[in-house]
Symmetry: C2
Subunit: 162 residues, 2 copies
Amino acid sequence: MANEKLAVLVNTFGSSVISVGREVGLEVVLNKAQVSQGVKVTDICAASLIGVVGSGIQGTAVIMLDKSGFSSVVNAMSGGMIAPNKQDPVAMSVIGELSNMVSGRSLTQAALPGMDVTPPQLIAGESIQNVPNQSAGIKSFTLPFTVNPAGTLYLVLSFNAS
Amino acid sequence: MANEKLAVLVNTFGSSVISVGREVGLEVVLNKAQVSQGVKVTDICAASLIGVVGSGIQGTAVIMLDKSGFSSVVNAMSGGMIAPNKQDPVAMSVIGELSNMVSGRSLTQAALPGMDVTPPQLIAGESIQNVPNQSAGIKSFTLPFTVNPAGTLYLVLSFNAS
């Protein structure tokens, strides 16, 4: 049962990145061949984390972007109005907004009762790595998306299903 | 009422860092003069984020460490048995364990009904910045602690109280 919920969440989060992206003018393609268990990201400069709790599940959904991916997302979502500077809280909040929309959409679609989310936590830096949690019972999944015109967006999901 | 809950959480999280630290052999001192609203951290190389949801509150508690602080925490908590290498998931999981203990202790002390937490998300990198969320209604607080023998541990709390 817990595994079923996890599968539902991985699927709805993955499809929500694509459908939300389409609505905000951001073209993303899931690299199906590179979807993997565990955390596999490279060259991350910006991340937005959302905590997901409820229905016997505790976990996090993280959107991570490399430099080109960050530029592409900020450009697309702001219509070119905001410069993609990761030191600028306004540019970073664009990433937070994207993860808000993705998590809202996917939890609605997952239709699991009593799920609640935290506001996004925004992280900027260099060579950010999301280190897999070593605790037993926590499963992580990495979904890499190619972003148009350039860059990579990673969706990293980590859930502890009781 | 919401502000009261926030004050309780900031106090219990702050005191839990000190009391948990003492129990695991980690001496930390709160720099009271530098406690501030907003996010003020520098030179962060490792972070552990926990989502906190329930009782009308959604938010995150983040422990952030500079290089010396990371070494001091891993040394103290592992009794010198684990090398403080932030590429090593085992060393990073020490930070996750610290934030688990701190959030568990502080939510017990806060005695707010129905609070739930996510497992820690571990982030390693260079010059990590926690960018304040621009949304209205989200309040952030930074509590800097001096770590013995060297380094700084920042506790960054961001809450959206409805």
